[in-house]
């Protein structure tokens, strides 16, 4: 269990993390979402005692990270997959960290097996692919067989097989009753991996909710209609009390009316329809809707249209 209470990190006037409070519970995969620059990495670095909070606290099982007697046995973390000396073998990289926490060679060999790097244990990470480096970073996180696992953007740059592997691994860790916090800026990935979501933007908490509840709350249902006579249908729909806005490719996005009602109305007035599709907002849409105001460098609407 990780507990954040009013966690804040300021650099001068700028608050990177701003009064963040939430719990990360055991037994589920908690997705930690936010646009780039939202403060996810800063938050994780403070949980791990790497950065000093300006105020507030982050504790693991009630203790600050720095107070954990054998930290790798309590918390495993992947922050930066590139963090390995390019000329030090994978085995020695792991061994140096294992020894520091009284963990032996056998466990090093074991985790190399778990992440599928046993065959390249004696090779230098300088020649590793991104996926192999990612696996080496995960091996570090698993060294102490910890009940709490933090992974920062673990699927970044991975191929589909690697992504699936991370997904299976984190699911397995949660099923074993561990606390798993997984950060990402990709909603689609979280939809497949996480049970619970913590969404932040500009260092502030936006949502702390189950995956289903998140979708329900944010998703807007609607109907996409395509017709050669769009202006007329639009005014008819508005008269009937529906909300209409331009959808993709000249279609109309109708909310407040079911597909059958829209079709009926069009039929009654003899309007030809080329498409009539009930739309459920995707998770991606829900996420963008929520974080839309908090994106650091959003492309302007005009720029997108051009």
């Amino acid at each position: 269990m990780i507990e954040l209470r009013q966690l804040t990190k300021r650099y001068g006037e700028v608050a990177v993390v701003d009064g963040l409070s939430f719990d990360v519970r055991p037994g589920v995969v908690t997705g930690f979402l936010g646009p780039n620059g939202a403060g996810k990495t800063s938050t994780m670095r403070m949980i791990l005692g790497l950065d000093r909070p300006t105020s507030g606290s982050a504790t693991i099982g009630g203790r600050r990270y720095a107070d954990l007697p054998v930290p790798l046995r309590e918390v495993g973390a992947l922050l930066d997959a590139q963090a390995a000396h390019p000329r030090r073998t994978a085995f020695d990289h792991l061994l140096s960290l294992a020894y520091a926490n009284g963990i032996g060679r056998r466990r090093v060999e074991e985790v190399l097996g778990i992440v599928g790097l046993a065959d390249v244990a004696g090779r230098r990470p300088g020649g590793f692919s991104l996926g192999m480096k990612q696996r080496l970073g995960i091996a570090v996180a698993l060294l102490g067989d910890p009940p709490v696992v933090l992974l920062d953007e673990p699927v970044n740059g991975l191929d589909p097989e690697g992504i699936r592997w991370i997904r299976t691994l984190t699911r397995g860790l949660a099923d074993e009753g561990r606390t798993v916090l997984l950060s990402s800026h990709l909603m689609s990935e979280m939809a497949l991996t996480a049970d619970h979501l913590v969404v932040i933007g500009r260092g502030r908490l936006i949502a702390d909710t189950g995956l289903e509840a998140f979708v329900q709350a944010a998703a807007q249902q609607g109907v996409l209609v395509r017709t050669p006579d769009a202006p007329r249908l639009a005014s008819l729909l508005r008269d009937a009390g529906a909300a209409v806005r331009p959808g993709a490719d000249g279609g109309l996005m109708v909310t407040g009316m079911s597909g059958a009602e829209v079709g009926g109305l069009a039929g009654a007035h003899g309007i030809v329809l080329h498409e009539l599709t009930p739309r459920r907002a995707s998770l991606e849409d829900a996420y963008l809707e929520l974080t839309g105001d908090s994106v650091e460098f959003a492309a302007s609407a005009a720029g997108a249209a051009a």
């Binding site: 720095a66 030090r88 140096s96 294992a98 520091a100 009284g102």
Partner: protein
Amino acid sequence: MTAYDVLRSEWVKFRSIRAMLGCLAGAVVAAGAYGYLFGTAAARDYLDASAADRAAFDPTETAFRALVLVGVLVSAVGVLAVTSEYAAGTMPVSVTAVPRRGLLLLGKGAVVAVTTLLAGPPLALLSFTLSQEALAAHGVPSAGPGDPGVPGALLGAGLFTGLIGLFGMALGFLLRRSAGAVSLGAFLLILPGTAGLFPKPVAEWIVTWWPSAAGARIFAVHPGHELLAPLAGAGVLAAAVLVLLCAAVAVFRRRDA
């Protein structure tokens, strides 16, 4: 997590970086080559000198001059023990494994100090032997390793290189960049070589009190009374290194890793 655990961990890191071996190999080459060159130069001076100067000639004086230059490579060992972590981005990983940063720094310091301390006497013996060979080859009086005062200077070399190794490590923690820390370290070490360019009182102060010059007094087989006694000189170097280490601890504990 005990001090022993951290020590083992740091030793694995140290031995698994080839640049360390490179620096130590370079130190061997520098000790041998400069030992011989300083010996040859001293022999030439002797042959040109007056009878009175010849009578005052001390063959051991040139024997360890190479060690200050060797110190540049030894301090690089200390620097790299730290900056290799910053360069590779592994410092955050190391700090999560050992959140007690003072302990982490101590572990690194112990590994650096012991390896550079052990390297000192063999390097000094190499420099001594080749310089005396060079003197003897020119028919100039030379000393043997068993002569009075020489064994002490050879062992003292361990103290010198050990302190220089820690000096490099402290600079590594303070600057976090290999290039910056290595070049600043080199400059600070060889600065006494340029003392003659300064006004006389400044030059005298540098030759007497500048930590690398004072520390090199440990090599004085016949110390005389003009400069610090060997152990007092080593004490000055030790004090300077201690100040840098305290600054390194303070900065390392305070800064975000």
